[in-house]
Symmetry: C2
Subunit: 326 residues, 2 copies
């Protein structure tokens, strides 16, 4: 696939840049900070930064500091998230706190965060552009923190959230950084508010579609691809869109089967499969995909006035995000 090749090529360039910035003393701190980065990742956010710069006629090398900064911030959230959730594995390797211990993992996250702002100020853009980049990134980080707290609160509360609660949460927790990625790419190319706003909107709506699709995969996904059992998010009691739609639309015995599996770590494999079958029979996949497509459409409309290869690649990424198979 041409698109995947483009993403891979971009990832290599970004990785090289990241490696050059994430070194220093004590070495252990930077080993911990780079642990997840060297062990994989598609660098989707840097890809979006660079394409968003190019769609507006900018030079991709101008966008490299911003692209790296966004990836550092993304990794900082992963490192701290894994501590908060006490997760042991990510992308097939031990999480940073499992490998390096909790204190170093907290510091690894913090140094990624610090370096993100440092690389932006090292860029060769005008001070006005740098100030705008810092402002966007800082605001995005605030949004991510707020979104993560909404997620923690939602998990703690007894009630099943509404679809609107869910969208508010993912808009901040996930979509904010996609929004910021595209806006920052745009700022590296232009000072026109209208263009920056169009790219920001593209990123935000793509981000929401991304998370909805991710959550669908978390329930119905093929264990061979997800490396997690079918119905994993259901068993973990994750209050994601497919699950809250399933709980809302199921009736009688169906509802009982789903609720029995929801957040029940001791459920048998058989009963978990049965619950996923019920969700399938309720056409949840189709309805969830419709929601993701709604946001993908909004994203596409934000780019209607642009053309060229960078646009094609952003639209191709959007298609990939919402059409990923479960």
């Amino acid at each position: 696939m041409k698109k995947t090749k483009q993403i891979e090529k971009n990832a290599k360039t970004v990785n090289k840049y990241l490696k050059s910035k994430l070194k220093g003393n004590p070495k252990k701190l930077y080993d911990a900070a780079g642990h997840l980065i060297v062990n994989g990742g598609k660098r989707l956010r840097p890809y979006m930064v660079i394409r968003s710069c190019q769609i507006l006629g900018g030079n991709s090398s101008n966008a490299m500091p911003a692209a790296s900064a966004v990836e550092m911030v993304h990794n900082f959230t992963l490192v701290h998230d894994d501590i908060m959730d006490n997760d042991e594995m990510r992308h097939g390797v031990p999480t940073v706190h499992k490998k390096f211990g909790m204190p170093i993992a907290i510091l690894a996250g913090d140094v990624l965060f610090s370096k993100a702002f440092q690389v932006i100020t090292d860029s060769k853009l005008s001070p006005i552009a740098v100030t705008q980049l810092v402002s966007r990134l800082a605001k995005g980080c605030v949004d991510v923190c707020e979104g993560q707290l909404l997620d923690v609160k939602m998990a703690e509360e007894g009630r099943i959230p509404t679809q609107s609660d869910y969208i508010t949460m993912v808009s901040k927790k996930t979509a904010a950084l996609f929004d910021v990625s595209c806006a920052m790419g745009a700022i590296c190319a232009t000072d026109k508010d209208n263009d920056i706003s169009n790219l920001s909107s593209f990123g935000r709506n793509l981000g929401i579609a991304f998370q909805i699709t991710d959550d669908l995969i978390g329930v119905m996904g093929d264990p061979k691809i997800t490396k997690k059992p079918v119905g994993n998010d259901l068993r973990e009691g994750k209050k994601s869109l497919p699950i809250l739609m399933a709980i809302k639309s199921a009736k009688g015995n169906d509802k009982k089967i789903i609720l029995k599996a929801f957040g029940n770590s001791k459920i048998s494999k058989n009963e978990l499969n049965k619950a996923v079958e019920v969700i399938r029979s309720l056409n949840i996949e189709e309805n969830v995909r419709k929601q993701a497509l709604k946001y993908a459409d909004k994203a596409e409309k934000s780019l209607s006035k642009y053309s060229g290869p960078a646009k094609e690649e952003l639209i191709s990424l959007l298609d990939f995000v919402v059409k990923r198979s479960v």
Copy 2:
């Protein structure tokens, strides 16, 4: 005392500004982020930002965003530090993770960090000044992370560090943020590299003197003031300057008494007092104070070409920092 009144007056203004910036949804996140701030603190770093701006003829209101940013970063390090050390109390109140739980405490630290960079970009300074402020602050945060890891490593290692290891560690862990405070204050007033560098040097050397004195108090300090038993840092096995100087200079039975107390949580009060008496008899206090004064002299020299009330107040703060009674 005139100086204390000035610090108190400044703290009130800074607190008001901080309160206006640290609000949002979910409220719980901002309650956690503001928890240590509303429960005390002298706001020494913001005071240094503002006085460093004034000593160069700048307007203090221009320095308020930078002053608040530094305090937010300082509080972010306290919140994450308390998690790493699993401390339960700070300034007489429960630490953030004890009160709000670990996940919210991690996020509270992260949001303080994010807001610090956001407030700087909200300032009315020129984009060139804002870029310099962000660059200094980000570099300072990297230093603090590196210094904290050096501290963790030093604690884990079996060997007693040298004085030079100790100075390297505190230069990053503690002094970096004092350095950044004064440099940022200077940037709010001028674009002259020489002045910025003088203030940066003042802050760094004051910071080292501050930490040395703090560590002296951690061993010999009056329990009524420190709210900790005499010899607390010795019992906790902290590898601070007074302790490593005491271990180095003690001989025979004296050395045995100190090493028995060092890092021994089960030591009797009597034996701990005896170890502190031995340290007193070795004249460690005088020698440590000499070291602190050496850095205080360097700090004072950095300001030799300036005059006026802001200089007097910075020198007065320097005196306070090194002459604090144990």
